[in-house]
Amino acid sequence: MAKVLMKGNEAVGKAAIEAGCRFFFGYPITPQSEVPEYLSSELPKVGGVFVQAESEVAAINMVYGAAGAGARVLTSSSSPGIALKQEGIGYISNAGLPAVIINMMRGGPGLGTIQPGQADYNMAVKGGSNGDYHNIVLAPASVQEAVDMVMEAFDLADYYGTPVIVLADGLIGQMMEPVEFNYVCKKELAPKTWALTGKGDGEKHMVENLVIEPDECEAWNKKHFETYAKIEANEQAWEEFLMDDAEYAFVSYGTSSRIVRSAIGYLREAGYKVGMIRPKTLWPFPTKAFEKLDKKIKKYMDVEMSMGQMVQDVAYACNDKNKIEFYGRTGGVVPAVDEIVEFGKKVMGGDK
């Protein structure tokens, strides 16, 4: 397929369709409204269903139903809308159902602002709902990557039986870049024999959420954690940018990593041996990337569009919080390249 120039929000909608998703339940919110808008007209064309839910709460519970019914299903929203979905996300996680949730983050907290942000890291990665659970969290840094990750998200969700969150931001949702849709699934997916389809002549299917006996509830939890352990072993993903000779490493994801990439260009020109580790999965966090480097790196420079929500994960990965310097903008501010260059120079000093 030839490349097309698409807005991120529309591209992720198309990606879902390409991935075989036929069901979308969502509620408008800036800066992601083009996702439901696009799908409201495109899904019916392929025999799919678009429902504008009465709220984000309703939307995520529709997703729960459709996922339980065995469908590939998508919802999307932005920060406060995702906060409203937390209970529902917990239910889907508990039931071990596959679903894909896109968050085109904006600045927060609360109503916040509608400009791009990355301050929902904790809500997505640590878990904004009750109980012990994890969701796979993918963090695209371009429209193409958003497309690829949305498509992969459906496979990961089906494969592991867990919600997958695609954590992008308003900038990725609003910008246009050339994209192509040629992701191929590398996993073998089992048929969804557990799905609610009516029992027909067979056994009845149940999707359960209340496990009244603590022992059983714990066993249920532990089963999920076995899955999580597999995911942590197999699915960590990151990009290393100019890390071969690097003595300093930026750590940044999504939109902010693009600013960092530009900044590295300037810093390299100025002679700094600096690269970047760009987590592509936020959960599982790519600790392997850090284990590999270990002592080689003098400082990790964490750059985010938040007040530093990823810092603890970086610290845990490199096991030395003193190695981390943080630079962040928040509230919808996208940092300028210059700021990052300056920050880098300050941290690295004359150390070229």
Binding site: K3, L5, T30, P31, I114, Q115, S142, G170, L171, Q174, M175, M176, E177, P178, R258, I259, V260, R261, S262, A263, I264, G265, V334, A336, V337, D338
Partner: protein
């Protein structure tokens, strides 16, 4: 080609976003990396609208142009005031001189004042193609994409029922291109 960083800015309704989109499209058709990044606000409120377009042969880092811009197109005064300083050395400032003017001389940049509103009104009976006139000047002034690619982009952007707009757009583009060619 070096990385080209372009910023198109004006009032909502002046067509700054679509001007940028055509440029980005042309870049893509030529096989470059491109990005088009709009401002967005609480919708439907009018106000200013701008977009940043980058055309490059390397993966694009920041899609937001905050410095080192090669070209700024200012379709009104607030946009000019806001964005002139992001121009890099030898950057080109393209001004819709009917609605804006550079107040203080700036070093190291080139300025093209183009009465795009007037030109559009005269030729097309309204200011609506001022943006494409200015785009013509952009392509003439900086080293991004070819005129042929812009023509191609027109055919992609104006599909189906919108194909009827292509001739006027091409004409407006040419007007701007030639104006820049003969500038000063």
């Amino acid at each position: 080609m070096n990385t080209q960083r372009i910023c198109c800015a004006g009032f909502g309704g002046q067509g700054t976003l679509s001007m940028g989109k055509i440029l980005a499209y042309a870049g893509m058709l030529e096989g470059h990396e491109v990005s088009w990044c709009p401002s967005y606000g609480p919708e439907m409120r009018g106000g200013t609208a701008n977009c940043h377009v980058i055309v490059s042969d390397e993966p694009i880092g920041s899609p937001v142009v905050t410095s080192d811009a090669n070209c700024v197109i200012a379709m009104n005064q607030p946009s000019l005031d806001k964005f002139v300083d992001i121009l890099g050395k030898d950057g080109v400032l393209i001004v819709n001189s009917d609605l804006a003017a550079l107040k203080e001389d700036k070093e190291d940049i080139r300025v093209l004042n183009i009465p795009a509103n007037a030109m559009s009104t005269q030729e097309f009976g309204g200011a609506k193609l001022a943006n494409i006139i200015l785009l013509g000047a952009v392509i003439q002034s900086i080293n991004t994409v070819t005129v042929e690619s812009i023509d191609d982009a027109f055919t992609h952007v104006f599909e189906g029922g919108k194909a009827k707009f292509i001739p006027d757009n091409k004409k407006a583009f040419k007007m701007g291109y030639e104006f820049a060619q003969n500038y000063k």
